[in-house]
Assembly symmetry: D4
Homo-oligomer: 185 residues x 8
Amino acid sequence: MTDTKKRSTTKIVAISAAVLAAGAAGAAAANAAAPAAADRPAAKADAADRNLTRDTHLTIAAAVKAAQASLDAAAKEGQKVSVAVVDRNGNTLVTLRGDGAGPQSYASAEKKAFTAVSWNAPTSALMGRLSQTPNLKDIPGTLFLPGGAPVQAKGAPVAAVGVAGAPSGDLDEKFAQAGVAALNG
Amino acid sequence: MTDTKKRSTTKIVAISAAVLAAGAAGAAAANAAAPAAADRPAAKADAADRNLTRDTHLTIAAAVKAAQASLDAAAKEGQKVSVAVVDRNGNTLVTLRGDGAGPQSYASAEKKAFTAVSWNAPTSALMGRLSQTPNLKDIPGTLFLPGGAPVQAKGAPVAAVGVAGAPSGDLDEKFAQAGVAALNG
Amino acid sequence: MTDTKKRSTTKIVAISAAVLAAGAAGAAAANAAAPAAADRPAAKADAADRNLTRDTHLTIAAAVKAAQASLDAAAKEGQKVSVAVVDRNGNTLVTLRGDGAGPQSYASAEKKAFTAVSWNAPTSALMGRLSQTPNLKDIPGTLFLPGGAPVQAKGAPVAAVGVAGAPSGDLDEKFAQAGVAALNG
Amino acid sequence: MTDTKKRSTTKIVAISAAVLAAGAAGAAAANAAAPAAADRPAAKADAADRNLTRDTHLTIAAAVKAAQASLDAAAKEGQKVSVAVVDRNGNTLVTLRGDGAGPQSYASAEKKAFTAVSWNAPTSALMGRLSQTPNLKDIPGTLFLPGGAPVQAKGAPVAAVGVAGAPSGDLDEKFAQAGVAALNG
Amino acid sequence: MTDTKKRSTTKIVAISAAVLAAGAAGAAAANAAAPAAADRPAAKADAADRNLTRDTHLTIAAAVKAAQASLDAAAKEGQKVSVAVVDRNGNTLVTLRGDGAGPQSYASAEKKAFTAVSWNAPTSALMGRLSQTPNLKDIPGTLFLPGGAPVQAKGAPVAAVGVAGAPSGDLDEKFAQAGVAALNG
Amino acid sequence: MTDTKKRSTTKIVAISAAVLAAGAAGAAAANAAAPAAADRPAAKADAADRNLTRDTHLTIAAAVKAAQASLDAAAKEGQKVSVAVVDRNGNTLVTLRGDGAGPQSYASAEKKAFTAVSWNAPTSALMGRLSQTPNLKDIPGTLFLPGGAPVQAKGAPVAAVGVAGAPSGDLDEKFAQAGVAALNG
Amino acid sequence: MTDTKKRSTTKIVAISAAVLAAGAAGAAAANAAAPAAADRPAAKADAADRNLTRDTHLTIAAAVKAAQASLDAAAKEGQKVSVAVVDRNGNTLVTLRGDGAGPQSYASAEKKAFTAVSWNAPTSALMGRLSQTPNLKDIPGTLFLPGGAPVQAKGAPVAAVGVAGAPSGDLDEKFAQAGVAALNG
Amino acid sequence: MTDTKKRSTTKIVAISAAVLAAGAAGAAAANAAAPAAADRPAAKADAADRNLTRDTHLTIAAAVKAAQASLDAAAKEGQKVSVAVVDRNGNTLVTLRGDGAGPQSYASAEKKAFTAVSWNAPTSALMGRLSQTPNLKDIPGTLFLPGGAPVQAKGAPVAAVGVAGAPSGDLDEKFAQAGVAALNG
């Protein structure tokens, strides 16, 4: 990454409401971020690249691919499951409520993925930590059941796949790992 | 950014629970992502860089700087406010409940920032859109009152500052803009 | 559909806890509906088909296809959106958080789909009803903004696609309709 | 079921907002799914039966019958309980707050039914699974106390009855089973 | 009922934990109010009837009758609705999710009933009050749409029936009134 | 009170919206149950006393007396607590956040009272039941810590007092019992 | 206020877990802030008075007095209301659910008080501001209906009284003002 | 502190809506407590100092200083954490979501701080209390994991710092203590 070059082009801009309001009226942009206007010389904003950092995320295409791979792996064994992919910020990227999956599976899948990405480990492995620190499971958003598997980039967690609904947690996690594996190679 | 090089080093890894559990035990890591183990030859994961994307974020240092600048700007005028900085994913980075600020100001600041970063515009400008599309304000997490200002990088929203508690929304937004301005130059 | 035959084979079964507990122990089924045991002569349950009704739903495969089609339609026009598919029971089947979509788009897409499936009409059409009955928009789970489109079977709603994040609601709804269209032909 | 025939009659329809808006105006339908208009030749939608699946549900009449039977069974023994019937999608079909039942009984009954339908087993039987997998009880919506009993069709769960408020869980479950039994024979 | 006598026999009792714990152990009462122990001489509680008041409520049998009457009235006209009965304390007594009713109808019915019992008037009548006091509709739990009808005893509200899901609010309220009417005569 | 007479005068009335709307306009009643109009001959409602039941409740004056007595008992021992009184329907009648009481005490007091009134026993006694049925504590609204004490009339629970914030649960419950005792004699 | 003196006696103390754990064990303090141990020489904490500020609050005795005065004022006019007192931090100090008050009144009273203390004005006065800034009412916790009145000390808001349930907001606010007046003179 | 003098100057004022409304109009104060008008002779409010009490709080400047010190301490050891400061009323003063901290850390930090300030002890010490009173951890808002540390003034809790995200709770608490220590000396 060539920081020098980026520094000269990345800018953080403070826009005055007056300018923006005019722009918004012109663009008639109803419910989304308006495309940046061509130039805004009045703002005179200077970039300060030192204020910025860059994070690695899964593309939505990859997240769908992983989720579908998990669902397919379950279907191949005749299991009815729900699947979720959650990113490192804890936001859900994809959910799939599988045909015939129990109603408890949807939220479970999401929470397993949240748990796996939080600690960068499969939830089956994380359950062992509860013998020493049982209250970990009181942290909001978590669920310590097998079925969550982290997606990593250079060893760091970028997302996780969660699966729920199979007759055993081992199966759930096997399907979650199938989802992660679909992103390799 | 030299994609070629990054591609060869970034890897998405599917870790088997067995391996991880062992690693976790060794590290005695109680409640956080364990640092990656030195090597994990068993995993044989291949990176698939095409599955990844990179986003620009504010550092926490920058977010604190912006929030503090907003609070200082308000204090200079004798106003009691709360301040929030929310990132482009909608997650709150910083909150500051100012001395003597009304109890309604804390949640208001957070929602103003969420609104500004969602549409990449100051909330004062966004209020004009309601005359055409009044139901925008029913979207969860939003608040269409002046006092939210986006932080941009290359014109794209990366975060927003929200301020609430001053006797007028114009003042709130002036202070929010002061926070954004602290990130420039 | 041959009701006569189905009536003679469908049965509602009251299972005693004792029987089930034994079965559960044998199956070691940790977290899902155990496959039915081979035979349970003790239960002697008689079916009462008159107590049952059958509903038509989208398969998860179809829901994914629709959601992906909406996302693709948006991408083709360079728009960053989130997509949701909600079934007639109000349960979410699929969510996709598009790359770079604003943080407000995820919940918006879900609520637009919920609204469209509730009234079996595109949300753009439903907005007109608010002029006569403005409080419709206070019903929990609804959002009266363009971008929701129902999926129908024989004219009855079976699901809906919701899209949010484009610069205008008209675009959102165009993409939602593209998702619905992917299920035809 | 004759798929060939149904395929030719079931259609998924993408309706353009313009058409629908006109239809809605004509129907003056204030807050519900408008009955399908007689014909909409402009839509040209083709059905795609492969996108559809059919689920078996309890009728509301059957759900009321089961709930009332549970309440009656409790009354016969002088017990004050609340009763709930939840369907396989996790949505509540019926609730009855019995005369004099404790305030905790209403939510308990609903959660017991949710739990029973999720795992297709009486909640008394499910409690045994917690000795191996204690965190199952952290799944949202569940309650692992006796008093939930599944309603099945061909062995698959279609709903469940939950009862709470009696002096013992065994009584609660006996009454829940009485509700299920009312649907047989 | 001879009130004079009741006054002399009604007692408010402060039970010491020690006594109760013993009693509870003896009764093995798992999850409900244990029947009062035969005598508790140690407590020496004196009744203070002046601390008590009596309220009139619907029986659950009556609430079911009303809800069923509403559902039947809707079915007679081919309408698919959900029904709720809420008591004067704001607690829900009965809910019925009608076959094929839209997913928005369940919560709507409950809120309409809550609104009607709060102001002791049909919700259609209450909507007129919004022209003078529009913010009434911001009160938690309320929904100002036709379809809620109060049940009265001596003119005071004791409960309300709420209906939602028909194509117009007028129909919803007609069915709600049918439920109330079932409790007369 | 002569019940015989009441039976002949108590009526459940179905009011048509048209009549009520007119009445409401006349009364200009903005946000409460309007006093019953003098006579409404058009309604022709017949009472059906069999649909009604009567419950015993604490007056608000009594609830305040009990709560204050608990607070005073704590103050006498130099303890800082919060107090709540919850009625048999689970609705909170009174809350008092004592000077200097910890922030956790407010919700705790309310939940302890809810728990005590639900099972008609002091929460200290109820804790013993958890050894046999640990999942009782997963019921929404409950808290199994000493400090909740039921208020009874003829042995039946009509309300409960909850106290939290003292250095031990035994103290909390002593103060709760002082509140209950204030209603006797 | 003599800052010099206070500085020498007020101390902020960082306690090591080891020391505290021992202290806690000694005090057997189960669920509250343990009284400070006599001396903790090991901590060597230095006070930093500049880090502290002091706020004025209502005593709980005063809050009860105000709430009761509001309830009495309503009773004198035959009105059934609920009352709440909220402090400047937005935390509820007292709630009173009046005999026969509508179920909507409890939450309304609390929100009116929250609103009045947030803007240091009666809610009737605040409603006028909505004509210019209608979205103020979207701020979480607020309710813009008459019936909230601030309690002030030296002109600054320290709490507010909220009343709801009377047939008009003017009455509600009259009773709220009666509560505030009880704290004067 | 000279109480005599303060008593003569502090006043609690009941303001009539009419007066305030006029004042508000004059001040055009849109969304905050208006600065007190110069004099309001009409109100004739008498102070009642006996109704008031004063609490000690952290300034926002101090809270930021503590939070930043915790974050810095973590950074020095290469740990990625989130930090929260909560005051004695349970309200959050500051939150900082550290760069790269896991998504579970934000809520965890807040709850740890809440727990520490509630019982005036480090959360590591409080965990020991659970062996005797395990249900303490069911109190809303609490989290019994190491990483919360109280800030005291004269031994009383005024706030607490919570840290989460490090690989062990011991590290989290070490960083929290660093934040507290920054307020001393």
